[in-house]
Symmetry: C2
């Protein structure tokens, strides 16, 4: 699960979800597999039975154009639909969630630093001409003569796709509103952008007792439960009982877990302290991480800063620890080093680690023999699902075929050159075997990481750096043989099963696929890493960011003018974090709302009304 915590910015949560109808949720819980908590799904067969052909209601558009059906309303689906040429294709978007969710703000929504309405954007607005990015509007006008008058809007259906049949090019859908209508649609091309569910790693009690943070309802629920915990604590006088009722555990020190812990701690120390003074004295937030460092796969300076700041704060850290069980009001933890098992109270446990396919995707994978990956739809570098001609997958539910041999060959060739230089420069002790000093080998790995940005966090960050160093120099000779270097390269890329499940990846894939469908590109998908950011509490953030790159329009980000990454920490980074997130908002409405929420909280604090 290394790749999971390599999340950039924050894990996406464009999950194909349905949370507003508790009754359905019960069905979902009852039918989900033991491994995955589909924050969302009714398994198809629960609704339809197995008799798919009995569904007579066919909503396939009557059109001569190519019929493109998009599943989802997250980063991938939105960026796709904002860029697709609807004059050439008939586009239908289907999602049980009728809005896009700005996932990086979910931790803020849990305590009200931004409000829930601030992080959502209606899909029906996003399919309009006005929602298209500036560069797309220019292209629309220049190449397709599309303007606000003749623009054709993509259709949107608020429904859940419960079954994909790639043999007949049909999907089976269910309305999620009161009517429960069932229907089929036949597609020419299908784009799956439904996100992922939560992987519990089969840990006992997670499904029953932990909370997740994938959807806006999750965030609102957490807010309610945190307030409930403090109100409950205010009802008892015994300090020990207060402590139990106002303790919180966060499992997973990736960006979501970390930012939630930071936001919750800020909220307690800044606002609750005035309204629940005696309860706050007993309150605690514990962050459990299976690795020794936090954000362990980020740039080491970011990771170190985060660790230092959090250990100074009131957040308790349990690093190098594994959660054995989540109980109703406690969490059982095992220290990986000492093997000690201990239990800490938790009124409310957030589980924020692991992404796994949701049932409709799992079912699809199982139905296509060429689909060999179990953690997502295996797609080639054009985002096309292996084993199909016309099904594409994007974002968290996709597992992109590694660039494979070409990249590894390049890395190995670089080694030969570098090692040759070392020989010439007199660095190498055993010239005929091309052995180079360890320091040089590490620097080479680092250089290569810059050349292949995808791999960056995997090679040189935190723990992984130690691991690579170990492989490079197994005999502790401080020199690296060709054999060991190749082993390190292989190890590095074996971890690279797919791109990390982040907003950045999903969004770029969505834009790319639209361009491909529009006929604007025939190239493979190329990911540009813009950077990683995390809010670490106390008005401080950690950011590893190519400033210039992030402000440029997407089509310019690959240009060589773009400089190296910058690592920022502290209050300055918080401002960069704020400016970039403000800039990332899709609509002006949401930009205004975000700014307003921040100003409001800074003036009046967070609202502690529980509903």
């Amino acid at each position: 699960m290394l790749y999971k915590t390599l999340a950039i910015c924050v894990a996406t949560a464009n999950a194909y979800t349905l949370r507003t109808r508790p009754v359905r949720m019960d069905v979902a819980s009852a039918t989900a597999t033991t491994e995955v908590v589909p924050t969302n799904n009714c398994v198809g067969t629960e609704i339809f039975g197995d008799n798919w052909d009995a569904i007579e209601n066919d909503r396939t558009p009557k059109t001569d154009k190519e019929k493109v059906v998009v599943l989802g309303s997250g980063w991938a689906a939105v960026k796709f639909v904002q860029n697709i040429d609807t004059t050439k294709m008939d586009v239908t978007v289907i999602s049980p969630r009728n809005f896009f969710l700005f996932t990086p703000f979910l931790p803020s929504v849990t305590v009200g630093t931004v409000e829930s309405r601030t992080v959502v954007e209606s899909m029906r607005s996003l399919v309009q001409y006005d929602a298209r990015p500036i560069d797309r509007k220019i292209k629309d006008k220049l190449f397709s003569d599309i303007d606000p008058e003749n623009f054709e809007t993509a259709k949107f259906y608020e429904s859940k796709c419960v079954k994909i049949d790639p043999t007949t090019n049909r999907i089976f859908c269910q309305d999620v509103s009161t009517s429960n209508e069932q229907y089929t649609i036949t597609y020419d091309k299908l784009v799956i952008g439904v996100g992922g569910g939560v992987d519990t790693f089969n840990t006992p009690g997670v499904r029953e007792n932990a909370l997740f943070l994938k959807e806006v309802d999750d965030a609102m629920n957490i807010r309610r439960q945190v307030l409930e915990a403090f109100e409950g604590a205010a009802l008892v006088d015994d300090p020990e009982e207060k402590r139990k009722r106002a303790s919180f555990v966060v499992v997973g020190a990736g960006p979501t877990g970390l930012e939630f812990a930071a936001e919750l701690n800020d909220c307690i120390q800044e606002d609750f302290v005035k309204l629940f003074p005696t309860e706050v004295e007993q309150s605690s937030v514990t962050l459990v991480s299976s690795s020794k460092s936090l954000l362990s796969t980020y740039d080491k300076r970011v990771s170190d800063f985060t660790g230092a700041l959090l250990s100074e704060s009131d957040v308790k850290l349990q690093t190098g620890a594994r959660v054995v069980e989540v109980k109703k009001d406690s969490v059982v933890i095992k220290d990986k080093e000492s093997g000690d098992v201990f239990e800490i109270p938790s009124a409310c446990t957030l589980w924020s680690t692991g992404v796994a396919p949701i049932p409709v995707v799992k079912d699809f994978i199982e139905g296509v023999p060429e689909q060999t990956k179990r953690h997502g739809v295996y797609v080639d570098r054009t985002m096309k699902a292996v084993g199909t001609d016309n099904v594409f997958a994007l974002g968290d539910c996709a597992s992109v075929m590694s660039r494979g041999k070409a990249m590894i060959d390049d890395l190995k060739a670089s080694y030969e050159v570098k090692a040759g230089e070392c020989v010439d420069g007199g660095y190498c002790e055993i010239a005929d075997d091309l052995v180079m000093p360890k320091k040089e080998a590490m620097a080479l790995m680092d250089d290569l990481a810059k050349k292949y940005p995808v791999s960056k966090s995997f090679t040189m960050a935190g723990q992984y750096q130690d691991r690579i160093a170990g492989i490079l120099d197994r005999d502790l000779s401080e020199t690296v043989t060709r054999d060991d270097f190749m082993k390190a390269v292989d190890d590095c890329y074996s971890g690279l099963r797919s791109l990390p499940p982040t907003a950045q990846v999903a969004g770029q894939q969505g834009s790319y696929l639209a361009k491909q469908f529009n006929g604007e590109t025939t190239a493979d998908f190329q990911y540009f890493h813009k950077g990683s950011m995390a809010y670490v509490g106390q008005n401080k953030a950690a950011a590893q960011v190519s400033m210039l790159k992030s402000f440029l329009p997407e089509f310019m980000q690959g240009l060589p003018i773009v400089g190296d990454d910058i690592v920022l920490t502290g209050t300055l980074a918080e401002w960069v974090w704020r400016v970039l997130y403000l800039d990332m908002q899709i609509s002006n409405r949401n930009k205004l709302q975000v700014a307003f929420d921040w100003v409001k909280i800074s003036l009046f604090g967070r609202c502690v009304s529980r509903y």
Copy 2:
């Protein structure tokens, strides 16, 4: 139910509620009586059994001060707690809702014209020194030497009171958070301000199929359901089926129902029309009123304007009609005049008529023999519950003893004088029987209404005016005998069972009781009617308001400098409506939020994301 629709501003909803925990709600629904929908309650015995004495947990404060316990977090409770002298009394506030709700904005929240967080205010903030009104802070300083440093905060417990035992001065409470803790508190004085439930008048299907609008959760639920209806309508092509799915019925043309219909219609015509164009063509909002006019008990000019504007708008009116049954997707209506029964489709039916006591109040009333009123706690004009020495009730759950004989005697004496003047002036035909022209008698009633503001809407508004005219002149002689005049006065005051269930009444009662407890007054409670307002859609409002009075601090509102009422309609009234509601916000945070929401909606429209 005349008094119900006499709501001023909008009916209060300081109901003593619990909506965030669906499981509990099921219990509540299952145990409620058939008459009342307690938007809120678990009946006490469901939780405690009948064995009250088994509860050992006693949370009675350890103090020598007088122990005042306040139930509720609505207008009455908040105004009480903002004015009570906590140095003299030990004050504990208990409510299952840990926030105050600005009820007049509930119709706006249903469609997002203002957001849910904009209309709430944490009780824990409201018990702080900062939340006290300016004039109270001055009094605090001058008379009790209270300042921010030595101010004692009232305690707040987020719990539900499930049983009041006035014989032992104890209440029985249940924590509504996870712990479900049960406890008792012994009081010296008890203040009940728990609001009311919804009266269904035993209409079949209301409990099962209608929505209510008393709490912020209700408003959020309505917003969800309205969007669900439109998303469902977008899934069908048949216009007739679209029409069924996008039809809405509002029962009750008091301010809540009227404003909801107006807001919903605005939302459909201003925002949905862009995003659901074909659905809006088929959509309809129907307002059902049992009387022939809307807001029938408001000033006639307000009522007439409202009717005229709504009949020009897209809101369909069904006046003089009674709802026979509310079905899952339709409403059965009977025209009172013709007796015709017909059924209209309704994807979502709002029931906004009728207030009835919630179970804990009902149980209290039944336990005290002197409590003879069934629609609320019968209190004398010092707000003390009849049959008790130390229980007080405020707001929607209280039924204030009529001023009774004194006022009626005054009215009758005025008649003698006026009739005498008529004789002297030669107006009266039969001098010895003191008969006066009908016009004079009506003017006299109007003058008297001004003298007794409470009675104003009852005497001279809309339908009631016709009724009184009918009584005054039964023989259609255009003259009024003393006997008929007295009958009209009696009729007028027999309608005055208690003050209307409005925010204004509840708030004034709360302030009054605090003053009484502080020892600042020994007088009876006196209600000052500040006016009535309603938003009628299309950026227009109707307001009957004493401008000067509304802007003055409460203690000055009784002064004779305050002039007559002004009736405003149209866009100007909308601005008055906005300014007054902005001014009524308790905190600066909420003032800012309201203003921001209004600006945001005017710039970007309403958010149609459904969650």
